[in-house]
């Protein structure tokens, strides 16, 4: 099963580093990129990605607020918030929005664990 992944981060370098980890883990999965929550929303309406990887600290709407919105919009999308801001409040809010929290800099191991979990959920839902 292939999943379509949307990467949302205002930093191109940060998106590059997620793409690099994705290439190592699932080179055949299609990926999309957005530089802001607004851009991401357009992309989601157009492309319906299965998995959304969100930066927290972005200009405009931040990743946690956007994660909460996405959860309302489509609770079946697997969402992870990625941040170096490991404060318990941030992690708790990510979980309350139905999202996983992955620490930045993102390791292949952490991303891989999250994607495995998402894949298992999607397979179970499809069967």
């Amino acid at each position: 099963m292939k999943c379509k992944v949307l990467i949302v981060d205002d930093s191109k370098l940060a998106r590059m580093s997620v793409v690099k980890a994705l290439n190592a883990l699932h080179p055949d999965w299609p990926r999309l990129e957005a530089g802001s929550a607004d851009e991401a929303l357009e992309c989601i309406n157009r492309e319906s990605p299965d998995i959304v990887l969100l930066d927290f600290n972005m200009p405009g709407k931040d990743g946690l607020a956007f994660a909460a919105e996405l959860h309302q919009l489509n609770p079946h999308t697997n969402v992870a918030v990625i941040s170096a801001n490991r404060q318990v409040e941030v992690i708790d809010r990510a979980r309350a929005a139905g999202a996983a929290f992955l620490p930045k800099p993102l390791t292949e191991q952490a991303l891989g664990d999250f994607l495995d979990h998402a894949l298992r959920q999607r397979r179970a839902a499809a069967s």
Binding site: S11, K12, A14, P59, S83, A84, V88, P105
Partner: protein, 209 residues
């Protein structure tokens, strides 16, 4: 941003620098949160290359109140100064947030300098260490020093004549969610470091490809 410097750092290099600062400050906020046991809110970092005069004017515009700053100088491959700045009127509140509400005003006043220096040390070190580690370089970081004054004075680095006239000015707001405390972290990079920074950012970008 002046034209010559805009040419010197590419869009992706500036992006990488901003992301680097974001990583550093997010780590720093996570450390400060452990100290005050309340959530620290951060703004999105602003990174601009300006003349020193513009940096001073910028700070003066943002805040004309009496301020307290904890600053640490760093050198190595990169040279500059990192500052944690907040209004003087709020410094007691910050100390109280750290040491707890049980102490008397006298005790708190006695602890003020030490608590401020320690807070600055934790925040600025977390920030600088993240930047140095990500760039795979070592920075020597001086001991923290607490200074009282106006924003214009903190950036007037005339005491270090070796610094060029242009600086990289990095600026981030932080606040403590449930207390009336706001401050900012500012960083000035000596411009002669720019060529080195450019090559370090280039290497970081290559590693990320």
């Amino acid at each position: 941003m002046t034209a010559s410097i805009a040419v010197a750092l590419s869009e992706l290099e500036l992006d990488a620098l901003t992301e680097l600062v974001n990583l550093g400050v997010s780590n720093a906020a996570s450390s400060l949160r452990e100290l005050v046991r309340e959530e620290i809110l951060l703004s999105v970092p602003k990174v601009v290359v300006v003349t020193r005069k513009e940096a001073i004017a910028n700070l003066g515009e943002r805040d004309s109140r009496p301020l307290v700053a904890v600053h640490q100088d760093f050198d190595g491959d990169l040279r500059g100064r990192a500052l944690l700045i907040f209004p003087e009127a709020k410094s007691m509140e910050l100390v109280r947030a750290i040491v707890g509400n049980d102490l008397s005003l006298e005790d708190i006043m006695e602890l003020e300098q030490e608590a401020l220096a320690e807070t600055g040390n934790i925040l600025l070190n977390a920030c600088l260490a993240t930047i140095a580690n990500t760039l795979q370089r070592t920075l020597r970081i001086s001991l923290p020093e607490v200074i009282h004054g106006k924003g214009t004075e903190f950036f007037d680095l005339t005491q270090s004549p070796s610094l060029g006239d242009s600086v990289i000015f990095i600026y981030i707001n932080f606040s403590v969610r449930t207390r009336d405390i706001q401050g900012y972290i500012a960083m000035l990079l000596d411009l002669p470091s720019l060529a080195i920074l450019k090559s370090l950012l280039g290497a970081l970008i290559e590693r990320t490809r």
